[in-house]
Amino acid sequence: MVTAATAPTPTAMDARRLGQIERRDTLAARNSCLAPGEDIAVRIRRWDEATRQAAYQDFKVPYQKWMRVLDVLNWIAENEATDLAYRWFCGSKMCGTCAVRINGREVLACWEAAEPVMTIEPLRNLPVIRDLVVDRAPYEKKIASFEPWIERREPYPSFPEPLNHKQMKDASKALDCISCMCCYSTCPVIGLGNLTDFAGPAPLVQLAQTALDPRNDPDKIKRSLALTGIFHCVSCYKCEEVCPASIPIVGRIIEPLKAKAVLLNPGMAKHSSALRDIVAARGWVEPSALVLRVQGLRVLARMPRAIRLLVRGKINPLKTLFGIRTAAAEAARRILRTGVAK
């Protein structure tokens, strides 16, 4: 960890985490905020094809030690609302079928501690069948479209085949995925529906299991990547936040897949390559330079904004068009052109 060797701090607080203690955000706090017997106030979204009306129903549930959201649902289904529809199978974070939202946040019901006041709703971005049960079919269909299995270029040698964990590091993280769809529900780009062809975090993690596997044929990977719309990921990290398996979806799945796309599907990755080239040439990025490079003549359609930006002094075409030799540029040229031996 970084030592505060050179920064005197008047308080011992860690501002990066302001709110964690006040709002009882830690796991220790979440598991100790209720005493057995105390009431949990629950509100559940009920929804039925017959009525096609959403209604919220309230319950009071007695807390039991270390209760999970699933235990709350089970208690309600056994004692108050026997017709409540919710999905679960294993109750122990293996099957990934019990994901719901509590207070707007995606969780795995069997894994997440119950909160004292909870509104429980189904996952987003998927059709609701009834109450908290969503239709997994759109998600499954996307995965199937990637043909998520390896195709070997060379025949399989024998058991055990030559392979080491360094080669499988990212694919191995992807293999922790239990298809709970929490990330798919929280992804804001998926939330925009058909606006883009972004496959979504969960399908990409599923794809990564084979696409980041060195035994897989690059042509196969290329074909799958073309279907992913992967450059629509906005890197908001909401997926990482909700993943019950703690998979670093952005850093270890989406970014490596993007890197593959730059090599295998360069047409998809023009702006990434453009940014790299700009940084390598100038040391820093002037945003309008990037837009110009990426959008080319289309930028003329943006002339009204360009003019407004120009008037406000926010862009300087001279600066954009003529590179300036600076120390930063020298450094970037040297580092990015020659790279670091790993």
Binding site: V2, A15, R16, Y237, E241, V291, V340
Partner: protein
């Protein structure tokens, strides 16, 4: 207090007002800033995906530059911050990688020992200045200014860096706003995404996402939004015209950079803080300026 200061790319161009405001406010706060002139871009999101070793080296270089001056590093952009944080973590956890990077840095006489403390300006305000001192320095409390804080993703996620189970529990900006006298509102867009990082090649996502957040802020009664990230500012402010077209009605929501909000409370004028460089007029907020004629409380 002295910091090595890394302004990033946006603050030197499209959001130059942010850089200027930061310098002014730092002076008022008694912070000495040593701008790292030869620091490169941290690589935004693209570089770390397609050239991880290059990305790491450029970022560790920034940390090494700070270390060479024996100073902690202050940033004013969320994405820059997360990039250097991630590079530092990678450096600290992988000795082979660290050695390789230092070989590269040695070519220009630099070396990183892993000791640079990284602080976004927002954290500097809380940790290095502190609430008590800030209250003393606030000569123009922004009483009755209802403000919607827009955090920007990279200062509050991922949990592997920031530790929140639920990043909505991050209250750093609201706490600060209260110290400055504002009334922060709760609204759905607080910790959500502006979509900047795909705007270069497809701005529709940014327009739609940010539109939702500005509308929520407006419905919540906010007179302005404040953000600690110039990239978010670029969409919130720079694209607001397109957003208005998309939602079909005027929004007119002024967007302040964090140092500008602080600056107003410290008695700096809107002109000094270059709010007129913004795309969305900040006009109504000028009533909160120190030298503005005070109206009776509404």
């Amino acid at each position: 207090m002295k910091f090595a200061y890394y302004p990033g790319c946006s603050a030197r161009s499209t959001c130059a007002e942010l850089n200027a405001a930061t310098h002014l406010v730092a002076a008022k706060l008694g912070l000495e800033l040593l701008q790292l002139e030869s620091a490169t871009c941290t690589g935004a999101r693209e570089l770390r995906a397609i050239d991880p070793p290059g990305f790491l080296t450029l970022n560790v270089r920034i940390l090494a530059l700070a270390e060479s001056h024996g100073l902690p590093l202050m940033t004013i952009c969320n994405t820059c911050t997360l990039n250097v944080l991630d590079a530092h973590a990678a450096f600290a956890s992988d000795r082979e990688l660290a050695a390789a990077i230092n070989v590269k840095l040695a070519e220009e006489g630099l070396h990183y020992s892993g000791r640079t403390r990284i602080s976004h300006f927002l954290w500097v305000l809380h940790e290095n200045i502190g609430e008590q001192r800030l209250r003393e320095l606030v000569v123009n409390p922004l009483t009755n200014m209802t403000i919607a804080a827009f955090y920007g993703c990279h200062i509050t996620r991922p949990p592997s860096q920031y530790g929140f189970v639920d990043s909505r529990n991050n209250i750093a900006l609201e706490k600060l706003a209260e110290v400055l006298g504002c009334q922060p509102i709760d609204y759905s867009g607080r910790n959500e995404c502006c979509g900047f990082h795909t705007a270069a090649h497809d701005e529709r996502v940014a327009i739609k996402l940010t539109g939702q957040h500005i509308q929520a802020a407006k419905t919540g009664g906010a007179q302005a939004m404040v953000t600690p990230c110039p990239l978010c500012h670029t969409i919130l402010d720079g694209f607001q015209r397109e957003i208005e077209k998309d939602v079909g009605h005027k929004l007119g929501m002024p967007i302040l950079h964090l140092p500008q909000l602080v600056g107003l409370a410290l008695g700096l004028s809107p002109d000094e803080l270059n709010v007129d460089r913004h795309m969305v007029p900040v006009g109504a907020l000028k009533a909160y300026a120190a030298n503005a004629p005070k109206e009776p409380h509404r």
